[in-house]
């Protein structure tokens, strides 16, 4: 037992149980499937994970703040629609491949703007982020449908859809972008003043206010970051598909929240980190990929994921039993 508590690797696992789970499913699928333990498949997993994963990074910030953002799926679709549509605008026809640049920039700006709107409303009205972003989820999705006329857009420039096939050394470019974002957000959260304030605002809001942290703008910045990441995710997804459909990203908010909660971030705020979130998205990614390889119908993944989410919650409650000393309420 003493060894158990002294071994740094095991202690690390105790603090990040999701990585234990990642390890288990990883070993399980390596043994159970012939195709799982394969460099090419690992690349696949990273690429598949990147879509949810990018948004989950932002959701970690927002949830540590004690907020939530339900509108990310819609923001993703809106950004994807802009990215694909703008490159075919008449004014850019002579730009060649450069026409992609303004399209992507505009798409990312749209994402940041959506985040800014959410954050500004939360800041100024004091309405709970759950309600604000629930409204935005419907509203932004409505915007997508109105903007696209309920049609899918297809990328005419093949450079755009070829982008996702590029590699940097052994890694697909999408995976590289995702991993860079992981590092950046991890750095932001653990090393910068803004990141540390994120914990302060979620952990004890009144203390943060009294300490002079400008809570409103602070939260707005985090909403803008998640807006940016959702838009980036949307752009990358549309390069993979070579298209943007108005229903893109539906239910993604649920997957993202699942991943973040699996990673140990608390809905009540003040607690969580990017290492956990990375574990959460990888757990989901490996599970989906492995079951796919074993030809388990995709349906079962939903059931298993839902069950795992509830199980994690249950175990968390058991192990972190509250300190009321047995008062039965």
């Amino acid at each position: 037992m003493a060894y158990f508590y002294q071994n740094p690797a095991l202690r690390w696992l105790m603090r990040n149980p999701i990585w234990g789970f990642v390890l288990i499913v990883f070993i399980f699928f390596s043994l159970a499937s012939d195709h799982f333990f394969d460099a090419r498949n690992f690349q696949n997993i990273l690429v598949q994970t990147s879509t949810i994963g990018l948004i989950a990074l932002g959701m970690t910030l927002v949830m540590i703040n004690g907020n939530i953002d339900l509108s990310v799926g819609a923001t993703l679709a809106l950004a994807a629609a802009f990215a694909v549509d703008v490159q075919s605008w008449a004014m850019f026809t002579t730009w060649g491949n450069w026409q992609i640049l303004p399209a992507v920039c505009l798409a990312l700006l749209v994402g940041i703007a959506m985040g800014a709107i959410n954050g500004f409303i939360v800041w100024k009205t004091g309405v709970d982020a759950f309600i604000v972003t629930l409204g935005a989820m419907l509203g932004i999705r409505g915007l997508v449908f109105v903007y696209t006329g309920e049609q899918s857009f297809y990328a005419m420039n093949f450079a755009y859809s070829d982008f996702s096939a590029l590699s940097v050394g052994p890694l697909p470019v999408l995976a590289v972008i995702f991993l860079l974002c992981v590092l950046a957000v991890h750095w932001l959260l653990s090393r910068t003043v803004h990141g540390r304030n994120t914990y302060a605002v979620g952990g004890n809001r009144e203390a943060a206010v009294n300490a002079g942290i400008r809570v409103g703008p602070h939260m707005m910045i985090n909403f803008m970051i998640i807006g940016f990441l959702a838009a980036l995710s949307g752009v990358l997804l549309s390069t993979q598909m070579g298209a943007a459909t108005p229903n893109l990203g539906r239910d993604y908010e649920l997957w993202v929240i699942t991943a973040v909660v699996l990673g140990g971030t608390k809905l009540t705020g003040g607690k969580g980190d990017i290492i956990g979130t990375l574990g959460g998205v990888l757990a989901i990614g490996i599970l989906r990929n492995g079951m796919n390889l074993m030809q388990v119908p995709a349906f079962y993944v939903y059931v298993i994921l839902g069950s795992i989410l509830i199980a994690v919650l249950f175990l968390d409650k058991r192990f972190n039993a509250s300190t009321d000393g047995g008062l039965r309420l």
């Binding site: 800041w123 309600i131 419907l138 509203g139 349906f299 509830i310």
Partner: protein, 324 residues
């Protein structure tokens, strides 16, 4: 100035905010479209709002009890697929009770996890949303289901029939709303739900079986979903396997619009009905005005935030949040 008056006139205005907004919208739409206030149109809006409405009744009770139910959309898919699929296999008279029982079981699982084990309702029902969607897909093998003999079955009465010229969905919706309004306002159970949602600790200190009350709210929510599924299955005579996707949020939107606080302890079924009707009339009015279908969601966005904002502002006595 506005806010001081809002505060002085206080709760009265704040409580009627939804009614005022409702009337404003009705007047605006009726000025812009002469078909809007026709009996036919109003009836058809009522009929279309019945499914969301029935589900919103259950959701309101869950929210008054201090919790959330995000699994109602998946549960609607589950129940509809089940009742439609069983219809041709064992006949409607058996299909309906089997489906209702199965749906109640799902509600009981929610109730057990949230009421008895005291797990966070947002995450539990999020997990259930995913799990139930999976169940539906497994059950249906990813196929859509439908009823072959759509004309010869009495099952059609729930979605397509009418009594005394009033469409059955409206009658079901209205009756349920009335019954549960009476339960929530005049019966001991309603009082207990309000108490548990308002202050769970004080409720236990008053001898109220908190776990059982919360459990019951989820059973009621599941029952409402089952009834909504009967209407939906009967109207469509078939079902896609993800038919309820996204309903949970529209239902919640209606509940919030009706002024029920997500913190629990306060809310009203009748005002939820207003919220449901308001969303339905916005949708209908915009379409009559020739706007694209999804414009309604944009308007809903604004309406929800303004409604809740005014509510919050009236409570704190100033329009803008004091945080820097």
């Amino acid at each position: 100035m506005l806010m001081t008056r809002l505060k002085a006139g206080g709760p009265a205005i704040a409580k009627q905010g939804i009614l005022v907004a409702f009337i404003v919208f009705m007047i605006a739409f009726s000025l812009m479209s002469d078909r809007f206030l026709s009996a036919d149109n109003i009836m058809s809006v009522f009929r279309q709002s019945a499914i969301i409405g029935v589900m919103a009744i259950g959701a309101t009770i869950v929210v008054i009890g201090g919790n959330l139910d995000l699994s109602v959309g998946s549960m609607l898919s589950f129940a509809t697929v089940l009742v439609v699929d069983l219809h041709d296999k064992i006949g409607p008279e058996l299909a309906i009770p089997v489906m209702v029982l199965a749906t109640l079981c799902l509600g009981a699982i929610n109730g057990f996890l949230i009421g008895i084990l005291r797990l966070n309702s947002l995450i539990v029902t999020l997990g259930m949303l995913s799990a139930i969607q999976g169940l539906v897909l497994i059950y249906s093998g990813g196929q859509n289901v439908d009823i072959v003999d759509q004309r010869g079955t009495w099952f059609a009465i729930f979605g397509r029939g009418a009594v005394f010229g009033i469409a059955t969905p409206i009658i079901i919706f209205g009756t349920l709303a009335l019954i549960f309004h009476i339960i929530m306002t005049t019966m001991p159970f309603g009082r207990r739900v309000h108490a548990v949602g308002g202050n769970p600790t004080a409720s236990v200190f008053s001898g109220i079986p908190r776990s059982r009350v919360v459990f019951m709210t989820y059973l009621i929510s599941a029952l409402c979903v089952a009834i909504a599924a009967i209407i939906l299955g009967s109207r469509v005579m078939g079902s896609q396997n993800n038919v309820g996707q996204g309903y949970e949020l529209q239902v919640l939107a209606a509940v919030i619009l009706g002024g029920t606080s997500l913190l629990g302890g306060s809310g009203s079924i009748l005002r939820t009905v207003l919220g449901v009707l308001m969303l339905a009339f916005i949708q209908n009015g915009l379409i009559l005005m020739g706007q694209p279908y999804y414009t309604q969601w944009l308007v809903t966005w604004v309406v929800i935030i303004v409604a809740v904002w005014l509510d919050v502002a009236a409570k704190r006595g100033r329009l803008f949040s004091p945080i820097a």
